[in-house]
């Protein structure tokens, strides 16, 4: 049963290199948008209604979650300090929109963080399911089970013709956004990605960079997701996304091979320079760290760098972000101070795990 999977501790699910594409597909996410039929949507409801929605959804979820062998923690966003909200955003557990919300909102998080429900984001409910690696079906199963549990106890806004009614017409229908996070360094280096992106958008799907707002895809990490929510079943949407993602992964592998064949030394040089930067810098910006992380990750995938655990890189990708650094430091940090803290974080984490590198490079 799919549910057994979600009861495993988070650490093991990250390490569980199951599936052959876990090196390129970093994580999978399903989001379901739902609204209650008895309340106006968040763009027009009153604070009083917002409170009622929060109360109703939270009490149902906290009361019934044991039926799915989950326990949820209720976090009221307005009562959460700004920095902690940002940490949740950096972990992708809540959206920036919810974090900066003006009316009462909250997030309910499952013990392993794989399931969550945002209350009073753009819709009354945003059910989210997160899985490491490339697991669209499993992630959907988890979200769907939670959705079915909630719908038994809440009255959803549903229309015979239009399906689940949402604030944004781009979500109407299934209310589902499925996405896979992909690390595509070779397609980026070879500029093929700029041809792939428009081609995909014609097929009802979207590819975009995910880290760093308004800049290029930071760290060569892209997110591919379905754009269409109306006219296709959840199953078909997931199948299309699955097929498209597999094709992109295949293209990335071909591009990696091509680079490896054409300029192996240049590639190896780049990867080791990046490793050097991460393990020895004294000032490290987010952009530089993301670029170097991407190179090192590629180095591990191509077996150029051995004895380094990918999961540390996954963690660092999250922990190197501004709010996390400040949370760790226990105080606000100016951008320059963050660069110092970030460099220190990388030196400590990477050199501790890979003590040999330091000695070798100084020899």
């Amino acid at each position: 049963m799919a549910i057994e999977r979600f009861l495993q501790p988070r650490a093991s699910s990250w390490m569980a290199n199951d599936g052959e594409n876990v090196d390129i597909a970093m994580s999978t996410r399903i989001r379901l948008a739902r609204n209650l039929s008895d309340f106006k949507f968040p763009y027009s409801f009153s604070e009083d209604e917002a409170l009622k929605v929060d109360k109703e959804v939270s009490s149902v979820l906290l009361d019934k979650a044991h039926e799915l062998n989950h326990s949820f923690t209720h976090i009221n966003i307005q009562e959460t300090p700004k920095l902690q909200r940002e940490v949740l955003v950096e972990k992708h557990l809540i959206s920036p929109y919810l974090a900066n919300g003006t009316h009462s909102g909250s997030v309910l998080l499952s013990e392993n963080e794989e399931l969550s429900v945002m209350v009073n984001e753009e819709d009354h409910l945003r059910i989210q399911s997160l899985q490491s690696g490339f697991h669209l079906q499993e992630a959907y199963q988890a979200a769907n089970q939670l959705d079915s549990l909630l719908e038994k106890n809440l009255s959803y806004a549903f229309h015979e013709k239009f399906g689940y009614l949402t604030s944004c017409p781009t979500n109407t229908g299934t209310g589902m956004r499925a996405s896979v996070m992909l690390h595509l360094p070779a397609l980026t280096m070879s500029h093929q990605i700029t041809r792939i992106i428009p081609a995909i958008s014609r097929l009802g799907m979207v590819v975009r960079g995910i880290y760093g707002e308004g800049s290029e895809a930071l760290g060569n990490v892209y997110q591919i997701s379905n754009q269409m929510t109306l006219g296709k079943s959840e199953y078909d949407i997931l199948q299309d996304l699955q097929n498209m993602t597999e094709q992109i992964i295949h293209q990335e592998r071909l591009a990696r091979e091509a680079i490896l064949n054409n300029s192996p030394l240049a590639l190896e040089d780049r990867i080791y320079r990046s490793l050097g930067t991460l393990t020895h810098s004294r000032l490290l910006s987010t952009e530089e760290a993301a670029t170097c992380l991407s190179d090192v990750r590629l180095g591990i995938d191509l077996k150029m760098i051995k004895d380094m655990d990918m999961s540390i890189l996954n963690e660092l990708m999250i922990f190197m972000q501004p709010a996390f650094l400040q949370q760790y430091a226990g105080k606000p940090l100016q951008p320059k101070e963050r660069d110092v803290a970030r460099a220190k974080l990388f030196r400590e984490r990477l050199n501790k795990e890979n003590a040999t590198y330091e000695g070798e490079e100084f020899a």
């Binding site: 106006k40 763009y43 027009s44 806004a157 399906g163 604030s167 229908g173 895809a217 109306l230 006219g231």
Partner: protein, 177 residues
Amino acid sequence: MICDQCGERPASVIVKQKMQGQMTERHLCHVCAAENHNLNFVFEQDPMAIHQLLSNWFPKQQTSVSPVKKEVAVCPSCGFTFTKFLELGKFGCATCYEAFEPQLENIFKRLHNSNFEHAGKIPASYGSTLKIRKEIEELRKLMHVSIQNENFEEAAKFRDEIKELNLQLEGGVPDGN
């Protein structure tokens, strides 16, 4: 000429961009041009496109209709007008879907590759209420036929059945299971 973006390398590419009717021209080096290319494709996709699509929806038809344009649909529940929906790109409540229904088919077709009807999951509870509602509708028709035929005994039977189903609906929805 030096690149507009990095201010370092010589510009070798002219990037012309049309945004909201305004043409901008930038001189970029090959490095920045490549980056920019990527950037635009990646980030101009989703929210802007929808917003623009919706805001471009009405004006042309609207201006030509001139004085009698007061008949813009208004949602009776939340007060959103169709125009506000287009500006914001968001619905105010579930009733908006009913209020703006005549125009929605075309909008959804544009947003969802020519689709405008849901083909996915249906809430279990909704499935059963839907059935009851359809049954009631059917019985009402039968009742009217009976009345027209002056078969009042039969009509009373239908009326009682409808009453019972209505009770089920009222009782069934709030505590679902």
